[in-house]
């Protein structure tokens, strides 16, 4: 928690939620990257954070992960205050982001071994073999990460994100720079992981089809604030649009929902 004057004691609902964010604000010098954002994500759900460049999605996710400290507001992850109680919860979550890389000179197996040990995976070798089979990594398991194609790197990053079988998975643009086939394959894998592990997934994406396919709920951000928050169907109905892409354009261009204008 940050700024105790605005952080009330957590409610039982907040503790049951996978993520509970209240009045989250991040100011960089004069820029309000995230402005009084609140939401609660229930366990086992898939939620999409939508928004244009500079909407505050990455900063919000980075604050949830503890990589960026909020200016004010509070965050609880799996019932623990972040970043203060990070050590209690970091082993139960994981993430993938285009802002970080896996070490290039190390082989895929070496990288996964290291992260397996960092996340205290009991039998790392077995877990890597399982991931290699699930994510089709066997052909390049002993190749340096720097020598992989973009699609292969994404699969390796996903393997790292799943190494500890996280309860909470944070994904920032998980299919960026992938061809449609690989992207589709990654999405299917995420859906499978969610259903087999009852995991909670929060993903930031520019890909509206991806969000429509994966997410139970969509939070649309614009200029650091939550612009809309509902299921994809409800949001499309509210804007009277057939696709989230059209909704996205409406939001980006400042067109209000039909329900509000009529």
């Amino acid at each position: 928690m940050v700024n105790s004057d605005i952080t009330p004691a957590p409610s039982p609902a907040a503790d049951r939620a996978a993520i509970d964010v209240a009045h989250l604000t991040k100011v960089y010098k004069t820029t309000r990257a995230v402005d009084d954002v609140s939401f609660r994500i229930k366990r086992g759900s898939v939620t999409g954070l939508l928004g244009g460049n500079g909407a505050g999605k990455t900063t919000t996710i980075a604050m949830i992960m503890g990589l960026v400290l909020p200016t004010s507001g509070c965050i609880r992850v799996l019932g623990h205050a972040m970043p203060e109680e990070g050590p209690k919860v970091l082993g139960r979550m994981n993430f993938e982001s285009p802002y970080v890389d896996m070490p290039m000179r190390l082989t895929v197996r070496q990288n996964l071994t290291i992260f397996g040990r960092l996340y205290a995976v009991a039998n790392v070798g077995e877990r890597i073999a399982q991931l290699a089979a699930d994510l089709d990594l066997n052909d390049f398991l002993d190749r340096a990460n720097g020598k992989l194609s973009a699609g292969q790197k994404t699969r390796v990053a996903l393997a790292k994100a799943l190494i500890n079988q996280p309860e909470l998975l944070l994904l920032d643009e998980p299919t960026a720079s992938l061809d449609p086939d690989t992207a589709d394959w990654v999405r299917q894998h995420l859906l499978d992981y969610r259903s087999t592990h009852d995991a909670t997934i929060l993903l930031a994406s520019h890909n509206m089809l991806e969000v429509e396919r994966l997410c139970d709920r969509v939070i649309i951000m614009k200029r650091g604030r939550v612009e809309d928050d509902d299921s994809p169907d409800q949001i499309m109905a509210r804007y009277n649009r057939a696709t989230l892409e059209e909704v996205f354009l409406d939001v980006a261009r400042g067109r209000a929902p039909v329900a509000e204008t009529s």
Partner: protein, 272 residues
């Protein structure tokens, strides 16, 4: 979690994982290994021949047998110790891997301990061949210093860690634009640490400053041992006390800079 094959992680296991990461990296690149040996070897050969020349022409250096070579080796322990720690840290910046580490269960203190261990490993790879060259080419047995060598080594390595942790914190906070400080800061201490000459050579007011640096005590102690045959344990104790303060301060500064980096969002970028 369902059938999660995860157990409570221990600090030792996470530190071990990080050391393994740097070991893999070192072994994956022969130029990196070669570089560890190359510069110390070049140093010892150059300074060794200089000492050989001086002993032939100067009565003092004939008596001071090995103090120059000893100073070169001890300086390299100080410099390479710091570099070993800082370069392992820089590897994470260059690889854009810090975000992965900072979001993992790895704690900052465990990260720093793994960097210290790597500094010892890299130092051993560079300095042991250096001491062997000194023995073979210049008949100087560095290890004949005996037990005092342990005191010299510990004090120098503690200073190198303090400086290494401090500069790593600066790079963490300011990005790779501050990288050059990793290579240059230690040289700024060199004139005051009195590596190759006694503290008495400095002007009076500068001597006060010199005595605030732990390595000054070590180099002065080395000269006392090699020239006068006296082990000055008092100098080693003073050095150790200042080192304890410096090391604690460097940890605190690193944590403060990490917090500042998180406040400024620097961990998401890591560039210049």
């Amino acid at each position: 979690m369902s059938e999660v094959a995860v157990h409570r992680g221990s600090s030792a296991r996470r530190i071990q994982a990080m050391v393994l990461r740097y070991w893999y990296l070192l072994m994956s690149s022969w130029p990196r290994l070669l570089e560890l040996v190359y510069w110390p070897a070049l140093q010892i050969i150059t300074w060794g021949f200089l000492q050989t020349y001086l002993t032939q022409t100067s009565g003092f250096f004939a008596r001071a047998g090995g103090s120059l070579i000893g100073a070169v080796i001890l300086w390299d322990i100080l410099f390479r110790g710091q570099l070993g720690l800082s370069i392992s840290f820089l590897e994470e910046m260059w690889a854009r891997n810090l975000g992965n580490l900072m979001m993992s269960p790895l704690r900052p203190i465990e990260f720093l301990i793994s960097l210290m261990i790597m500094s010892l490993i890299r130092l051993a790879i560079g300095v042991i061949p250096m001491t062997l060259l000194a023995l073979v080419f210049f008949d100087f047995n560095f290890f004949a210093i005996g037990l005092p060598l342990i005191a010299f080594f510990c004090n120098l390595i503690f200073t190198s860690w303090s400086i290494g942790i401090f500069v790593s914190g600066l790079v963490l906070r300011n990005g790779l634009g501050a990288e050059s400080i990793v290579w240059t800061l230690m040289f700024g201490l060199m004139p005051l640490a009195c590596v190759y000459y006694p503290v008495a050579v400095l002007p009076g007011w500068l001597q006060y400053l010199a005595w605030t640096l732990p390595p000054t005590y070590v180099f002065e102690g080395m000269r006392a041992l090699l020239i006068d045959g006296v082990f000055r344990s008092d100098l080693m104790v003073y050095s150790l006390v200042i080192n304890a303060v410096l090391l604690a301060a460097s940890f605190a500064i690193f944590l403060a800079l990490l917090r500042s980096a998180k406040r400024h969002g620097s961990l998401l970028g890591g560039g210049e």
